[in-house]
């Protein structure tokens, strides 16, 4: 038997001692046949498997366009208390796509953080930053309180108690004519610096913004 483990194995089957070899052959007919059958099978399987996989994973990368929604006239909102409004996060699925936002006029004496500039109204999301339950603004305590696991936020939406890992998300706001409009969502860290929207439970301080990257589907801000 020829030494099959020789270091410089010839590429010609004739030299490798394979029976049925002819002069100048590098790939035997059997190998060629097997390889083509496997390739054809792989192409056939991919033709239904790859589209199906793309279909399953596609929604991760799809982003919906930015939407601005009118929530009420300027007269409806005050400077030092929150007014709840219902906004549509996801159109087309009825009540399941709606959420609550708490709107307050921008107050320079309250909103003093250096990063907190630019929006004429402060719109705070009711989505708790712990695991997503809807928080409620309690006027008597001047706090947002989450019923699920006891998260508590102050007037600016910053966490003052319980398991949440960052302040409440906010929405961009603008005024068109007489109406206040609510726009895309953004997340904030404990210094109220803005980030692309993140899911609840993902901290944004320090290493958090790298450990929990903004996903392709969420709007980059």
């Amino acid at each position: 038997m020829a030494d099959k483990r020789s270091k410089h194995k010839s590429k010609y089957t004739l030299d490798r001692g394979i029976p049925g070899a002819f002069e100048g052959e590098t790939v035997t007919r059997r190998r060629f046949m097997t390889a083509s059958a496997h390739t054809a099978g792989a192409i056939a399987a991919s033709s239904f498997a790859l589209p199906a996989l793309a279909f399953a994973f596609g929604p991760i990368f799809k982003s919906s366009p930015h939407r601005w929604e009118t929530v009420g006239p300027e007269s409806m909102f005050s400077e030092n208390n929150y007014t709840p409004v219902v906004i549509t996060l996801q159109p087309g699925i009825g009540e399941a796509g709606k959420s609550t936002a708490y709107i307050r006029q921008f107050n320079p004496s309250i909103d003093t953080d250096p990063y907190d500039r630019g929006t004429p109204y402060i719109a705070i999301s009711s989505r708790c930053a712990h695991l997503g339950c809807p928080v409620r603004w309690v006027d008597a305590a001047e706090r947002f309180i989450c019923p699920c696991h006891g998260g508590v936020y102050d007037l600016l939406g910053r966490r003052v108690g319980g398991p949440p890992v960052r302040p409440l998300d906010r929405f961009y706001t603008r005024v068109i004519g007489e109406d206040v409009q609510v726009g895309p969502r953004f997340s904030v860290n404990s210094e109220l610096r803005r980030f692309s929207p993140r899911d609840p439970g993902e901290p944004l301080d320090g290493i958090g913004q790298y450990l929990y990257p903004s996903r392709p589907g969420a709007q980059k801000l």
Partner: protein, 270 residues
């Protein structure tokens, strides 16, 4: 690898060992009962002659079990029975359910519960059956662990069992959303967000489950397809593999059962 002794073929129980008396062999004319039995035997023989399934059935059913086998060993079959209950009641619920996030889902479940004959019963069987299955799965897993039945050569069976446990949990999670009431919706929001707290890949996992960065129109359909098609198929396949391995490898005796070794193999006491 020494050649292991071959066990004898699975025995038949007593009443089945002798060929049954043929009708008309001097027993008098065939009674209607004998006639019905003969008809059934003919059908089974017809199938068996073309498939050899009776050999497989005998291999599965008339296995030898070790001394000391007790009621704990029924937990696995009980789990499978609970799964079959879920599958059957699930099929009938699926005839009425509509995976429509804008209200149709809730309405279809309300219709099943209030207006369909025995709808409340079937829905209840499915809902409570899922809790029963989870409890039995854990009891079965505990029994297997404490009896040491995961050791060689049954390690693969244990691994398949763990995968079955995970698939059962996924079924519970995806099925919980389907009634689409307040509890279902918020429990799913919280559950998907818990997934998101895993570092680095957590956010992508959440997006995959939800079908996007927000709970959307496709989320309910996604959960329904996973609950109805993907996981039951995987569960059925793996349960088949799990049962095959149990029959092939046999069950172990409980840990308190001492092996009865042959006298000549025991070392002499000094």
């Amino acid at each position: 690898m020494p050649k292991l002794p071959k066990l004898p073929a699975p025995p038949l129980p007593g009443p089945m060992q002798n060929p049954p008396p043929r009708p008309g062999d001097g027993n008098g004319p065939m009674t209607p009962l004998e006639g019905a039995a003969q008809a059934g035997i003919t059908v089974i023989d017809w199938v068996d002659e073309r498939t050899s399934l009776s050999g497989a059935a005998r291999w599965m059913m008339f296995r030898k079990v070790p001394k000391g086998t007790n009621w704990f060993y029924t937990l696995g079959s009980a789990t499978m029975f609970a799964f079959l209950n879920q599958a059957v009641t699930g099929v009938f619920l699926a005839m009425y359910y509509r995976p429509d996030a804008s209200g149709g889902a809730y309405e279809s479940i309300r219709y099943v519960t209030n207006d369909v004959f025995l709808g409340q019963f079937v829905r209840g069987m499915h809902k409570w059956g899922s809790s029963v299955m989870v409890i039995l799965v854990f009891l079965h897993m505990g029994r297997t662990f404490f009896f040491g039945a995961y050791k060689y050569p049954r390690e693969l069976n244990w691994v398949i069992g763990v995968v079955l446990l995970i698939l059962t949990m996924v079924m519970s999670f995806t099925g919980y959303l389907l009634p689409f009431d307040q509890r279902a919706y918020w429990a799913t929001i919280v559950g998907v967000n818990i997934n998101g707290t895993g570092p680095l890949i957590g956010p992508y996992l959440s997006d995959f489950l939800r079908g996007g960065s927000e709970f959307g129109a496709t989320t309910l359909s996604r959960f329904y397809a996973i609950h109805m098609l993907l996981i039951p198929g995987a569960l059925a396949t793996l349960i088949g593999a799990h049962l095959y391995l149990v029959a092939k490898l046999g069950t172990t005796a409980p840990p308190w059962q001492k092996a009865q070794t042959r006298a000549e193999l025991r070392e002499a006491e000094v």
